[in-house]
Symmetry: C2
Subunit: 373 residues, 2 copies
């Protein structure tokens, strides 16, 4: 009965009408969550306050003292680990680029009504913690387990369902050393900031942000695929033609994307860029959750012709974005700069994004309006 | 001729049409700037990534090494001070609540088109630096100086005017010890984050954010009131009836405001709160740039009746927000909670905000929708 009542203030997913501007509900999300100001692509490692943030419910009032991570379900030895116990494991630091699955949502037509990202929901950090595989090894995963379910302390209602934020990963992915999954307690060498999961979060290199469960407090091993809200209702690719009962495809790894630091300087309101004529070095970052970036191309004529940019090596940080740069000779007039990445698996960014109902994975190429004067 | 061309991509200030949703230009600002997630009102001192941020143009690519602050104009001894020279002055730490002058803009009807804040553009930090008065004393301000003009490194175009961000303060306010103005190089004990002005910014306790010039690189003493864009065009209170040539009143000190931590837990999309029946302690913060907060009142019936909250003392941090709390006995059903502050000068928050064309100083009371189930 309580859930039914909460449902009264928690509507179903909705698609904006043609021409409908951003509503106050979307604006309230945009005011609390935030993206990376694109000039901050200049930093190899994003300062925490510039890294994108998406919080489904509230940032929990968490204290490291007394926090414990429980590991249970289909394990031989259930665990309850405090921060000190986790720090006693061998620590690993991984540089990981994280992106929200909803990045680009507000550029879809029609627009799925949710957090209205344009292109900026990304960031890169050095995450320090314990490999998940070591913790699961200590607990002793039973052979009948097929998934690990991760619960965060973030509590709320979403589309009528009251929940703690919860997601799963399949075994052996969760236990595989190659997957690089961490239980992280530090970001860029400091305790996690509150909005990034203090005191503990999951880091799943190469996956969109929804997998990196923040304020992590429980891991439960289960013998069937998890069907919780964030797994089977949200974060699915469903096309326009699919009915609401269509399960869709799960959202998992990050599609390739390149972004540029908008060159020159901006107009306050339109964010149009002003550059001087002549040689302009255009820089940015590119990444893919499916492997390294093989190629970055830049266009200065709104996608008619493309030139290859120089791209830095993926090593020694295979899960982090790669820097790229290209020299443009700017002539007076108006221009549209674009950039697109292609990864080693041959995935490339589209010029037109196929639509999906949740507004996920829109990696259509960035377009930057520039006036050269 | 360059300014005329830049003006082609930099339109005049605009008021949204009736019913016009938030546009992509406003959304682009909302995605890069961000407010305080209201649950973060729980922290006495706001972690940097949760403190509100408003950047007019780009975050400059600033390095502390080689940064110098010049002090010139009507002084006896022009100065050029590096970070080490500034750190050699006696350091002062002040806890200051900062709020954007445009906070509340998106709730005005009609809506001035600019950064679309709802109520969350606020934060409190411990700022460490040199009292401005000491630096000006060393430079020796000449008796014909009437204002100090502060220039930041943030460069862009705004309403057709290319500019470095620049604001002034009147003398003797700038030199007065009581005003508490700092040249800050640390926030919460660490170097300033890039988005908060690294390596140097002005902090003007009690004033809206536009006065706290970030990326500070020059102070010039002048013999006439400064008429630059941010002083005489932007940041003025102009009423609907005033013509575009009306100078309006300058935006200066922060009007009183109280905000509550929304109780219970949220619905993801509507942000409506869910609470359980019974005793609910409602907490929050209140502040005014005109003096201490004398009274905080809370309403649980959408403003029909008001109850006094307990308010913490303004000391020992006279420029910081004050905590307040109140106990609400929640009964099943829908409720609207509101809170309003009154300062020691008798200023109180309005239930209906008088309109102004820039959308400044909208301190109308916060309304929080709550469902008790």
């Amino acid at each position: 009965m309580e859930q039914a009542s909460a449902g009264d203030v928690s509507g179903p997913a909705r698609i904006a009408r043609a021409g409908e501007g951003i509503g106050e509900d979307e604006l309230a999300l945009a005011a609390r969550n935030h993206g990376l100001p694109l000039e901050a692509l200049r930093y190899d490692v994003t300062p925490p306050g510039l890294h994108y943030v998406l919080v489904h419910y509230d940032i929990p009032d968490a204290e490291a003292d007394g926090w414990s991570l429980t590991v249970g379900g289909l394990v031989r030895t259930p665990l309850s680990l405090g921060l000190d116990a986790l720090r006693a494991f061998p620590a690993v630091t991984r540089r990981v680029t994280m992106e929200c699955a909803g990045n680009g949502r507000a550029r879809l037509t029609p627009r799925p009504v949710s957090q209205p990202w344009l292109v900026e929901a990304v960031g890169t950090a050095d995450w320090t913690g314990v490999p998940l595989s070591l913790v699961l090894e200590r607990a002793g995963v039973r052979s009948d387990a097929v998934e690990a379910v991760f619960s965060g302390a973030d509590h709320g209602v979403e589309r009528g369902v009251e929940q703690d934020y919860r997601r799963s990963l399949p075994l052996p992915y969760a236990t595989g050393e190659d997957s690089g999954v961490l239980i992280a307690y530090a970001m860029n060498g400091l305790p996690l900031p509150p909005q990034h999961g203090y005191p503990l979060r999951l880091v799943v290199p190469g996956w969109y942000g929804m997998a990196h469960v923040k304020w992590l407090r429980d891991i439960t091993l289960v013998d069937a695929p998890f069907t919780g809200f964030q797994q089977s209702v949200a974060y699915r690719f469903r096309r326009a033609a699919d009915g609401p009962d269509d399960p869709g495809e799960p959202v998992t790894r990050i599609a390739p994307r390149a972004l540029m630091i908008p060159p020159g300087f901006p107009d306050f309101m339109s964010r149009t860029r002003i550059v001087r004529p002549g040689r302009v070095r255009v820089r940015g970052r590119a990444w893919s959750g499916h492997g390294a970036v093989a190629r970055v191309e830049v266009s200065a004529d709104d996608g008619l012709t493309w030139s290859r940019a120089e791209v830095a090596a993926a090593q020694p940080h295979p899960w982090a974005w790669q820097a790229w740069s290209w020299v443009w000779t700017a002539a007076p007039g108006r221009h549209v700069l674009s950039v697109r990445a292609t990864d080693t698996e041959g995935r490339t960014q589209p010029l037109e994004q196929p639509w999906n109902r949740g507004g996920f994975g829109n990696n259509a190429v960035q377009r930057v309006h520039v006036l050269c004067v």
